[in-house]
Structures are given as C-alpha cells and as structure tokens.
C-alpha cells in the first residue's frame, strides 16, 4: 500500500476518480431540488435517479456532504419500535441496509451486533413485553429476556448497577446493527452523482419562491444564484424550522442538541449494543475498538452544536454503573448535533400544504437507521406526487387532525 500511495502521489495525472463531480455552475432550472446533503437528501437523490429515472436533480448543501447529523450520530440501526407504522417502516429500512454495501460498491462496515434495551423497573419490563409482542406480530426478531440471560450474554456488566438500579430483564433484538455513517452519505452521493444528479456543496438555500398564489413552489434562492424548479425536497434535519419559515409553514418541530462522546480504542470486549433508558446510556464498540456513547437529549431548545462537561460527567458516571472496570479508560472526543424533535417521536414526511414542497424531517434522535427507507419513500412521493404507503401515518397534517403516533415509549433515550 505505501508503494502504491507513493506512485500515486508522484503521478502528474491522478487516475483515481474523485468521489463526486464538482460542478462550477448551477443550472438555471432542475426537475427537482433537494435541500440538504445529509444521508436523507442524498438517499432520496439516489433513488430518484435509480428507481424513477429522474436525474435532472440538484442536491444543495450549505456545508460539506454528510456534515450534519449524518456524521454526528451513534449509528444504531434497529426496528424494534412500538407502533405498527413504526415497526413496518423501520423494518423495511433494516432490509434495505443489508445489501447497500453491494449496491454502492463501498464498504459501509454494516455490523449486526444484537441490541439490548435494559429494563430496571417493573414498568420498563411491561413496556418491553409490549414492544416484543408488537414486534413479533410483524415478524421482527425481538424478545424479552430475563436478568440471567443478560448476565450470561454480558458477563462483564454489573447487572445490579452498583446496587441502585438492578437490571430485571431486557428487550433483545438480534438484528440491531451499527454502520459507518460517512460512508452512507458518500455511497448515496456517489451513486446519485454517477447517475447524473448534481451535488453542490458550500451552497446555502436562502429562500424558497412560490408562484403568485403563494401555494406552489417556483424556485429556490441560493448564495450562488437562483434556480427555477417545481419540486423541492426539504431534508435539513436541525434547520427544518428555518426552511419551513421560508414558505410560511408552521410545525411542531423544536431543536434540541443531542450530544455524544467516544473513548480511546480498547480491545474488543463489547459485541452487542447496550441501551438503558433509566440510566440514560447507550453504547456500542466500533470495529476500531472505541466505545461510542450517547445519552438523552439536552433538556431545552438550542440551535448550537456545543458540548458540555455536565453531559460528559453524567454519561461517564452512568457508564461506570454498568461497567465499573472502565474507570481508567479515557474519553477522547465529544460533540453534538441539532436534533429536530417532534412531540410523538415520529418523523414528519410527505406532502405539505405548499404544492411541490415535500418534507423529510422530524428525525430527531432516530433518523440514521431510516436513511435508506426515507430515501426510498420520499423519492416515490416526489416522483408520484403521492405519499408512499409506508409514510402515510407520518404526514405533517396528522397534528391538525390530532392523530399523533404513539412512538414515544420506544425512543425515550436518544437514538
């Protein structure tokens, strides 16, 4: 490899193709404009081109590809949700994940680990049992296991949690997985690029134009000029309220930081993904050996990706309740993303009162796992101007009709 690298460096012409084509100019118009070059926007572009033959598309990203929540998340993938619409939707995503590396010809390091959601109270055990039954009903591999089974699977865990929060059981979900998040954005981006989609980084959407009636999309204003288009997909996660205000729409979304941190690499010792709602902890070990850890959402609205010592301290304390032997392991990095939270912990997807303005938002702390299925269903919705059957329950309109989903119980700790 070093020899190949040296030869490569000394060549005057670089034979390796770049990941994406750089476009110096924006076209005057596109059939569709996708705002946000995170996993969701890029996946929608990919499936629009691949499955619907719509390739005259621009993805507009104000920063760099995948630099938003896509590159900040803790990459947990699972489908053991609580509501039928949630379970069906996320299960389809888990299915799509399976052959993405092949599709992209890019290693996503998709790694099936198994996923334990720990129950420390009787009421948590009850919720786990409920989730397991809903899951099984839809053919999802999900079961309630008792404390002994948890201890057998994780002999290094203190299942009494230092005596103050003994583990009574867990929901075990064998398909639970993690993947390399940057590669997901790049894979979708490269796949879309090769099919003719233009990706414009460092381009910020500053306004969205509607026709004279104000009810139909006419174009997009960016810091690099104006684009005419009849279809806009808004997939900007933490910036959703700002984009919605450009077309005069209100929503229940509010922005809260979600923080995470990672330890120095240690020998592999933790195979499954561990989540504890009561202790506000979730953790997995990467292929490189680092422990990737997260906790619950910051408790108040904030449009910032700052990190706090409070977060690191309390997460470390809870980690030590579960795994006291980690007391000498160092935290090497912490960061945050801006989570677009909804009151019912389900996304907001599909059409809006503005014709031609499609929304893919409300991904809060749970949207990474949904990247493939949201791309698939949003591209269908854009191409047919009709919501995909899997996302009918997630429309913006549900709040006006008081038809919220009941997903809250399954996502109380962020991921």
């Amino acid at each position: 490899m070093p020899w190949r690298l040296l030869k490569f460096a000394l060549k005057s012409k670089h034979p390796e193709p770049r990941m994406f084509t750089a476009h110096s100019e924006l076209k005057e118009s596109y059939d569709a404009v996708i705002i946000g070059g995170g996993g969701h926007g890029l996946a929608a572009a990919y499936y629009l081109a691949r499955d619907h033959g719509i390739t005259n598309v621009a993805v507009i990203e104000k920063d760099y590809l995948g630099g938003g929540n896509t590159a900040r998340n803790t990459t947990i993938i699972r489908s053991n949700y609580l509501t039928p619409e949630g379970v069906r939707f996320y299960d389809e995503s888990v299915r799509l994940w399976q052959d993405l590396s092949q599709d992209f010809d890019l290693n996503l390091f998709y790694s099936t680990r198994g996923h334990y959601t720990l129950a420390h109270t009787d009421s948590a055990v009850r919720t786990m049992r409920w989730r397991a039954e809903v899951n099984k009903h839809f053919g999802i591999n999900s079961e309630l296991v008792d404390a002994q089974a948890v201890q057998r699977a994780l002999p290094m865990m203190d299942i009494t949690c230092a005596g103050h929060a003994p583990i009574l059981g867990a929901l075990y979900h064998a398909p639970g997985a993690i993947a390399r998040h940057d590669a997901v954005a790049w894979g979708y981006g490269r796949g879309a690029d090769r099919r003719g989609v233009e990706i414009h980084q460092q381009t910020e959407v500053l306004g969205i134009e509607t026709d004279a009636s104000g009810s139909r999309v006419a174009g997009v204003l960016t810091n690099r000029g104006h684009i005419a288009t009849r279809k806009v997909l808004c997939a900007v996660a933490g910036s959703t309220p700002r984009l919605l205000s450009m077309v005069g729409l209100e929503s229940p979304i509010s922005i809260h930081p979600l923080q995470a941190m990672v330890s120095e690499p240690v020998k592999p010792w933790l195979d499954p993904i561990i989540v504890s709602g009561s202790l506000h902890v979730y953790v997995s070990q990467t292929a490189r050996g680092e422990l990737v850890m997260g906790a619950s959402l910051d408790p108040y609205e904030l449009h910032s990706t700052r990190s706090t010592l409070d977060f690191a301290e309390s997460l470390a304390a809870h980690m030590l309740d579960l795994f006291p032997f980690l007391s000498d392991v160092k935290v090497v990095r912490q960061w945050a993303g801006m989570a677009d939270m909804t009151p019912d912990f389900a996304p907001i997807m599909g059409k809006t009162p503005i014709e031609g303005f499609y929304l893919d938002a409300g991904w809060g702390t749970w949207g990474f796992k949904a990247t493939p299925v949201s791309g698939k269903t949003m591209s269908y919705t854009l191409a047919n101007d009709r919501p995909h059957p899997l996302i009918e329950g997630f429309s913006l309109d549900r709040f006006r009709r008081y038809e919220l989903t009941g997903e809250k119980g399954a996502a109380s700790v962020g991921h």
Partner: protein
C-alpha cells in the same frame, strides 16, 4: 449557559432549573376552531431567536420568565411574570 439567575433565589447552577417552554398566548378554547386549538397545542416557533421562556427553580418551585437567545444560549434577563409578582 451554566448558571441561571432566579429573580428570588439569585444565581444558581443550571441543573437546579427546568425549562417550561416559550411563553405563548392561549386562544380561547370556547371560541377558537379545532385547527386553531391544534396549532396552539402542537406547533412551536422553531426558528432560533431571542425568546421569552418559562423557567422554574426546582428546589423552591419558583416559576419566572427568561429572555434567552436560542442560538448562543445567553440569557438577556430574568424576571417574575407580572401577574405572578402581584399575586405573591
């Protein structure tokens, strides 16, 4: 923001407080439409701004108002709600 100033108890660590959301005007439930009511119940002004918010000092149970910039997390001022102050 690591500290917050309660108008009654003075400056305290942020962990002693909890957030009660932005101050919003409630439409009259007897006269408003279902749509106006659902908008009030669910919709929020999600865009970053200087907002007037309810905060509570947990140990003493004092509710008060804070003007906070939701981009920089700086508090411009805190004060008791006018009506609450007169009732006290």
């Amino acid at each position: 923001m690591k500290l917050l100033t309660c108008p009654l108890n003075g400056t305290r660590p942020i962990s002693e407080f909890f957030y009660g959301g932005e101050v919003r005007a409630m439409p009259d439930p007897d006269t408003c439409t279902d749509t106006e009511w659902s908008a009030y119940v669910f919709n929020r002004s999600g865009v970053a701004a200087v907002k007037c918010e309810w905060w509570c000092h947990g140990p003493s149970g004092v509710w008060f108002l804070a003007e906070r910039d939701t981009t920089t997390d700086t508090v411009l001022r805190t004060y008791l709600a006018p009506s609450a102050a007169t009732r006290r």
